[in-house]
């Protein structure tokens, strides 16, 4: 269980997060949504241990700021929005950076399996810097999967934190990446993902946290949270949620012209 209680983050003189309460459970995909500048990335950086914060954040009951980096690494992996590389590594070399654990019991080389998982089988020897943004993003996802591929001692849950994992992908790869995240959650892992696409969120998430202006407006299942009034208020534009039976809700922007 990831539990953030009354978390406040101040960057410079600006209070970017203000008393946020946020929960994510293993076995679930938890989405963080909200307009630009609402504090989504700040919340993600706080729960991954990158930022100082006031309040309490616990991972499996343990205060996050007290866990050293090396002990946190096998338990949680983080995919940034964009990862530029300083040197000309090949795709295989980048993915292998994620395989941090060596020794008895760990698989010899997870790289081929991780690359196959993200659909980049033939890419192993390609220079990372020459790939498109979307391909780089999937290479990084493969690296991140490598990092938490194997179970942690004491059967603790493993976590994936994804910052807008599908923002640079075409629609087919958006579905592929969301499915990878869904599968990770379905076998007991915890996934926390910042999402912009509310429809993908409705399709894949178990729980949605809606942020606006540094505050958490509500956290609930997509069926409960995705409501016309709440979304329109959070995003500052008119939004209408429809639910075609028998599937879940979907969201269309409601432009005045369409009335």
């Amino acid at each position: 269980m990831l539990d953030a209680t009354d978390v406040t983050v101040t960057l410079g003189r600006r209070r970017v997060l203000d008393g946020v309460n946020f929960q994510a459970a293993p076995g679930e995909l938890t989405a963080i949504v909200g307009p630009n500048g609402s504090g989504k990335t700040t919340l993600l950086r706080a729960v991954t241990g990158d930022l100082g914060y006031r309040g309490r954040i616990t991972l499996a009951g343990e205060e996050l700021s007290g866990i050293p980096a090396w002990r946190l690494a096998p338990r949680r992996a983080v995919l940034a929005q964009f990862t530029p590389l300083a040197f000309p590594f090949t795709v295989a070399e980048v993915v292998r950076l994620g395989q941090i654990r060596k020794g008895p019991g760990s698989a010899a080389d997870l790289t081929p399996r991780a690359l196959a998982r993200v659909g980049l089988c033939g890419y192993a020897s390609r220079p990372y810097q020459e790939l498109s943004g979307g391909e780089q993003q999937r290479v990084q996802l493969a690296r991140v999967l490598c990092q938490v591929w194997e179970p942690v001692e004491g059967s603790e849950a493993r976590w994936l934190f994804l910052d807008e994992p599908v923002s640079s992908l075409d629609i087919a790869h958006q579905l592929q990446v969301m499915q990878i995240a869904r599968d990770f959650a379905d076998v007991g892992g915890g996934v926390v993902a910042i999402m912009h696409d509310l429809n993908l969120t409705a399709m894949f998430a178990d729980s949605v946290a809606l942020l606006a202006e540094g505050r958490l407006l509500e956290q609930a299942s997509p069926e409960v949270l995705l409501r016309d009034d709440l979304l329109s208020r959070a995003y500052g534009c008119s939004l209408r949620v429809s639910t075609p039976p028998p599937s879940g809700p979907y969201v269309l922007p409601h432009a005045a012209r369409l009335g």
Partner: protein, 355 residues
Amino acid sequence: MVAIHPEGHLVGDRRGLARRTSWVLAALLLVAAYASLAVGASGVSLPAALADLLAGSEIDARTRIILLDIRLPRLLTGMMVGASLAVAGAVLQGLFRNPLADPGLVGVSAGAGLGAISAIVLGGLLPAGLAGLFGPALVPVLAFAGSWLSVSLLYVIATRGGHTSVATMLLGGIALAAMTAAFSGLLIYMADDQQLRDLTFWSLGSLAGASWSKTLAAAPLMLAALLAAPALSRGLNALALGEAAAHHLGIPVQRLKTGAIVVVAAAVGAATAISGGIGFVGIVVPHLLRLATGPDHRALLVNSGLLGASLLLLADVVSRSIVAPSELPIGIVTAVIGGPFFLWILLRRRGSLEI
């Protein structure tokens, strides 16, 4: 399916290639070391001396002195200086996440130089007990302090929020070098005749001053840096993804950066103390190796040490034989080769250079 080599290596994995390169470079180093012992202005022949030795006959005193007291310390100094400069370059580039960082270009050598000059000029002012405590190690120790200050300052100047700006790094390096040059000038102004002779000798960038006492004084710092550097390689690999990603991979980023700065300072400080300003080894060697076997620091640091040592020995052989019986300062040889090489790197990267 994923392409797998017959030996079971994944395509895109250059670890085997890097290992084979290490063996080739080790062989190159042996050749360079032999050349360094064999070539010299005195006309002493190494093969003849070796043949005498094997035949069990006495080697005359002059040959013994030239081989053991002149060429051998010079060989060991050249190896350690070349390896230190190349490894320091690779570590500095990893730390700044930029292949253009070179100890000479960004003012680290200048800081080491200021330390060395301070030791030569102000060393006489120390109380006799303190001076005796350091002895010949005073120059390398102060050079280490100077380069450590320079790298630390440069890091503070050029890096903000885990992001290094190339422009700030290079310009900050120029500013640091200018400031240290001003202080060095002041010290040179204060120096007496004997000190001026020492300084001129030192600043030419040469291995000609190598002697057992100087070699032994600088060796511990260089050897410590060379032995410690491989421990940074996993961290530097992760750092290539950025500071946040390195932290996520479990790397103690702050400790890694401190370690890298100390290694660079010790290697550059001691190398500069003993050989003056030898430029471009730190940028040419790692760059060639990245082209050949990739940027993985586990191989890069070891191979940089081997290639840097070999290249500096060969450059020293060239500098000793090209105008024999006189000799060219080795700094001139490395600059003549390294300068155009650096421009070539710059031109190749011009399209993508982030300023």
